[in-house]
Every structure is written in C-alpha cells, then in structure tokens.
C-alpha cells in the first residue's frame, strides 16, 4: 500500500515538473487562468493537458504495460493536495540566516500564596513545556484509597466543574497542545507541550483538572478498560510465555546467535521489568513505598468516584504541588499560575509516612528457560549527601552495553564477572533508583536457568569486592566520565530537565544547575565511593527472581 503510494508520488512529481515546463512553453493562456499553485484544488485539474500524453508515453515506451495509465487515472481521481500545492512557477529564492540562539536563563523558583511551588527556566525555545507534579503517587495511598493514583492517571482529563471531558480534549486540539498524565511512586504528573503564546489557556485547563475534578461514576467506569489494559501489560508471565515461544523456536542454538539473542533479551527485559520491580518494592520495603504503582486487581472494580474524590481532596493541595515550565518568562508564568490555581486549598498535608527498608526474598515460577532476577540493597534517597557517590558506584558496577552489540566486559564489573560464570547469553545491568527518603541500588539480570546460581553468586561477590577491596583510580575516572556524559546528555533532553527541576524545586526549594553537578562529580574520591559501597552493601540484600527458579540460591 505504502509502496504503491510512493510510486504514485514519484510519478506525479515527474509529471508536475513536466507539466510546469509545458505551461511555460506552450500553454500561456491556461496559465493566466489558473494561479501558479493552488492549495486545496484537486490534482486532476492539472492533468487535462500535455501531461496526460506524456504519461501514456511512459506507459508504452518504458514499461510496455497498462499499469501506468491506471495509476494515472487514480491520481486524476484522488485529491492529492500537497502535490497540488507544489509551486509550478520558479521556486522562491530563500536567504538562509543562522538562527540566533540566546543563552538560557537560570532557573527561578517562586512559592505562591497557597503553598504551590512554581519553577521555570527560560530557554527561548519556540515551544513551551509545562508539567504539574502533584505529590499523589502510589506512596500516598492508604488501604481505602489503594490504587487511586493509577486510576487518577487514567481519569486525569475527565470532567471537572469548569470543563467537560470533551471540552478539555477539543480545546487542547484547537490550541495544538498535547496533554499527558503519568504516575510514579511519588508523583502524579500532568504535562503539556504547546506553542509559546498559549500558556494561559493550557494552564487553565491543567488547573481545572486538579481544582474540582468530578469523577462522574459513568465516565470513570467507561475508562476502566484502560485500567485493565495496564494491568494486563503488567502481567509479565503472559508476555514472557508469548515471547518465549519466538525465542526458543527461532534460536535452536543459543551460542551461535548470541548477539541476536541479546537484542531479544532487551525486549524481554522491558516487559519483565515492571513485574519484577513491583515485587522488589513489595519485598524490600515496609511502608508506603511497598505500594504498587498499579491498581490492585481486587480494587479495579470497586474504585468509585467517592474514593477518587477523597484521594483528590487529600492530595490536591497547594503545598503538594510543583509547577514547572520550560521556555516561559518566569514573572508571567507565576502571574498566570497564581490566577489559574486560585482557590486550591493551602492545607498542609499530614506527616509523610516513612518507609523502612527490610530486604528479603521472593521468587515465582514462570514458563521460561531463563531467569529474570533483581538483587538490590537499600540505595540513597534524593536528599542523601552520598547521592553522587552512589551514582558513581552504579557506573563502576556497570550498566547495559554502551555500544550496540558490545559485550561490555571491559567497563562493567558485573558483565565481566557474569561472563566468567556462564557461557550462555545473559544480560546484566546495574540499577539505581532514588525516592525522596530512600532508594534501591543493585542489579537486574537475565540468564540461563542452568547457570543462575553461579551468576547470582558472581554478582553478590562483585558487590562485596567493591566494598572490601575497593576500586582503582582508573575505574573511578571512567565512572566519572560515564556519569558526567550521562548527566550532560540528559540535560539535552527537555523532559529530563523538567523532571530534575520539579524534583529539586519540590523537595528542596532550590535548583542545582548541571554545571554544579558536573563539578561535584569531579570532586568525588575513591574513598567516598568505597565508603558508600560499604554502607549500602552492609544492609540485607533483596532477591527477586522469576522464570525457571530451580537453581536460584538462597541469599
């Protein structure tokens, strides 16, 4: 279908060129009648004259078949506006000027009267991105509101007292803005990207969704399908089984095509990881961080508007919100925000419930010859002073390959030790997750079930050797370079700048710029990293495994 269309396009382009020449040379009268190009005029109107004869000539001489005339008739009957809009006269001369780029302004942070934090960076881009971070993630759920944060994400743009769901959608479409809702363990995030001059209307839409959400029973019920889709996607065993079929039949000999397998493994990793990570949190923590970011299935049918309403009333307060903007004038942004978010209660949220890391073990069977496992310990929270040392420790343990199809045994301690422990394909990558008061640091591994005992022992031995035997200066330099490159790269991405700004402004009320971070990375010493490794790996480990768990060892 696509190829047919592109053929048609190519032919039509040739024809148009031919046509314009024909117009210039012979068909002056005709030219006066029709403008040099016409938008919205069916293409067929251009194909009455010499072009048609040209087409039939191609049909006869080049191909000798009747296919082309048929294509020509389909062009004549179709309405290919974009092609019709190609100027038939000479192309306009353009002068290309280099775009003047202004230096981005530093971040500015203001606290509104109702307690809301407004932070923005003016980077003079032509689009504006705004995001509202509300402290309404799954860690704020209690027994009776369990799953509310997930449902809230799905129902974020339903009717509220100001706008109906239809109005929100249509206005966003008319403004050319996109609206997104995400939920994490900490935040419910409502974000939008749009053109610079439309801050006021978009912000008023976003404000209305958190001001007085109605959560009409019928609307919430109609959205339940989305909830079930999410839950099904989380159900990793199904996915594993599905992908496993392709995997085993397609690769009879593991070793010969290990490189292909690694690619497939990345796929599996993405599907598995949500199920494993949910279990890791459940096992590792006592307290609200153990809550799943997914709505529990026993609540999926009983979460009604009153529950959502009470969760919203509890969480949607000024001090719990952080509004960040990228590409806006700060003063203007603050002014618009304070008028749009007027009327949101300034009630301070209650004392944040603490989570405690306990560690432990969970494993379950899944239909797979592989084992997916995570071995983690308590990491550092966002307000921990060792956060950069922990980042360096993660890099020293080693992440996923930095080069496509690379084996990463040189720069990654984990990869190296696992490759010594097993001959079959594997993938291993360290992970470092930071929450406001705690975190997880460790690794995620997929390996063949026959060798999993050796693989897991190798990983745990690596943890111990970093803590006991220390690290070399070369390793630290490499880790610093990797971390700095990662940080600098992520600051190229507006989405990660937004997240960084929101998290920093929301928790500390200040913003540490990328340059400061890079400088601080440089200051870290071998002792800092070893000290943090000793501290972290002295806590009990958490092991979660799924797949063929026959040989998964006890911790």
């Amino acid at each position: 279908m696509v190829s047919t269309f592109s053929t048609v396009n190519a032919i039509a382009a040739v024809l148009l060129a031919e046509n314009s020449v024909a117009h210039k040379q012979a068909n002056g009268r005709r030219r006066r009648d029709s403008p040099s190009y016409t938008l919205g005029k069916p293409l067929s109107s251009f194909y009455e004259g010499p072009a048609m004869s040209h087409l039939s000539r191609i049909g006869k001489t080049c191909h000798g078949s009747h296919i082309l005339p048929r294509v020509a008739s389909s062009i004549r009957n179709s309405r290919l506006y974009s092609m019709a809009a190609v100027p038939l006269s000479e192309t306009p001369k353009r002068e290309w000027k280099p775009i003047e780029r202004k230096q981005p302004q530093p971040a500015q942070i203001t606290r509104l009267e109702n307690g809301m934090t407004v932070a923005s960076i003016e980077d003079y881009s032509s689009t504006t991105r705004i995001a509202l971070y509300v402290n309404a993630g799954s860690r704020y759920e209690r027994f009776n509101t369990l799953g509310a944060s997930h449902v809230m994400k799905i129902c974020a743009f339903l009717a509220n007292k100001e706008n109906s769901a239809l109005k929100i959608t249509r206005e966003a479409e008319l403004l050319g803005a996109n609206l997104q809702a995400k939920n994490t363990r900490e935040h419910l995030i409502i974000s939008s990207d749009f053109l610079r001059d439309r801050v006021q209307p978009v912000l008023s839409i976003i404000a209305s969704t958190v001001k007085d959400p109605c959560f009409y029973r019928w609307e919430v019920n109609d959205r339940k399908d989305h909830l079930f889709t999410d839950l099904a996607a989380k159900d990793t065993d199904i996915h594993a089984g599905h992908y496993q079929c392709d995997f085993t039949t397609f690769t009879p000999n593991f070793e010969t095509i290990a490189r292909c397998v690694r690619l497939v493994m990345v796929l599996i990793l993405q599907l598995f990881i949500s199920g494993i990570m949910e279990a890791v949190h459940q096992v590792a923590y006592r307290g609200p961080l153990a809550n799943s970011i997914y709505c529990p299935s026993f609540r999926a049918n009983s979460l009604f508007s009153d529950v959502l309403q009470s969760f919203a009333q509890e969480c949607f307060t000024g001090p719990a919100m952080t509004l960040v903007g990228l590409g806006v004038n700060h003063d203007e942004f603050v002014q618009i925000a304070s008028s749009s978010f007027e009327g949101i209660s300034a009630k301070r949220p209650g004392e944040k419930q603490k989570s405690f890391y306990v560690g432990g073990d969970a494993r379950w069977w899944a239909d797979s010859p592989l084992v997916n496992a995570a071995v983690v310990t308590e990491g550092v929270g966002l307000e921990d002073k060792d956060i950069l040392a922990a980042g360096l420790l993660t890099r020293i343990l080693g992440g996923s390959p930095l080069i496509k199809y690379g084996n990463n045994t040189e720069t990654s301690r984990l990869s190296k030790s696992v490759s010594e422990a097993t001959t079959s394909p594997y993938t291993v990558s360290s992970l470092n997750i930071n929450y406001s008061d705690s975190g997880l640091l460790g690794s995620y591994v997929i390996a063949n079930a026959a060798d999993i005992d050796k693989v897991l022992k190798a990983i745990v031995n690596q943890y111990r050797s970093v803590a006991e035997k220390g690290i070399s200066n070369d390793e630290l330099t490499r880790a610093k370079n990797q971390l700095k490159a990662y940080a600098a790269m992520s600051y190229e991405n507006p989405a990660s700048i937004m997240q960084d700004l929101a998290v920093q402004a929301g928790y500390t009320g200040s913003y540490k710029s990328p340059v400061d971070v890079l400088n601080e990375v440089d200051k870290a010493s071998v002792e800092d990293v070893v000290k943090v490794a000793k501290r972290l790996f002295s806590a009990p480990l958490t092991l979660v495994a799924s797949g063929n768990i026959e040989k998964v060892p006890a911790l």
């Binding site: 109906s164 239809l166 109005k167 029973r217 019928w218």
Partner: protein
C-alpha cells in the same frame, strides 16, 4: 413538622393567586392522568429508546435504575390484569420526584456542547 407545614402554607399564601390556581390544576391533572395509580413516577413514563434518555438512564445509580425497572414491571402487571394498585401503594405526591432530571440535563448540556464544537 407542624412548623414546616405552617411555613409551607405561609409561602403558598404569598404566591400569586394565578400561580396557586395553576398549581392546583396541575396537581389534579397529574392525579387524573393515572400513572400514580400504577405506582409509577413521572419520569418512568419517558421513552428509554430516545438516545438522550437512554444515556441518562445508563448513568443512573444501579439501585435507582433497578427501582425504575421494578415499578414499570409492576405497572405492566397491573395493566395486563386491568386493575390499579391498592390505594395505599399509589405514588404519593411527595414521592413523585424528578430523579432522572439532573442526569438528563447533563446529557443535554454535553450534546449542545458537542454540537457547538462541531460547528466551529
């Protein structure tokens, strides 16, 4: 209660005469139309094949929807038997409320809104 009745009477006395007469006639007409004798409420008579009303009915809480269905079945039964309900089961004036109206209003509002967006 007595206090309320006195108050109600007070308000009724303050209403213009024409409206009082009209209310009385309306009351008589509603009784005379006979649906109360079947134990029905006024909005039970609405045709649920009309799209707006079907949508409003979909939005009714489960129990109210079931109660409506039950009243209609009971009325059908009476109608087949060519009888009315016993007098004590007739719908009382104070029970004959607009239970569907809020939902119907909302549906109509949404329809109008959609139309206005589609005509832009």
């Amino acid at each position: 209660m007595a206090n309320k009745v006195v108050k109600g009477a007070e308000i009724a006395r303050q209403l213009p005469l024409s409206r009082r007469i009209f209310a009385a006639v309306a009351e008589w007409w509603q009784n005379a139309s006979g649906y109360r004798k079947y134990g029905l409420k006024r909005e039970d008579l609405l045709n649920d094949e009309i799209p707006n009303i079907a949508e409003a009915l979909r939005r009714l809480p489960e129990d109210e929807y079931m109660a409506r269905q039950w009243r209609i079945k009971r009325a059908l039964d009476c109608s087949l038997k060519n009888t009315y309900l016993p007098r004590e089961e007739w719908t009382k004036v104070e029970d004959d409320k607009f239970y569907l109206k809020p939902y119907l209003d909302l549906v109509e509002k949404e329809k109008t809104e959609r139309k206005s967006f589609d005509n832009q």
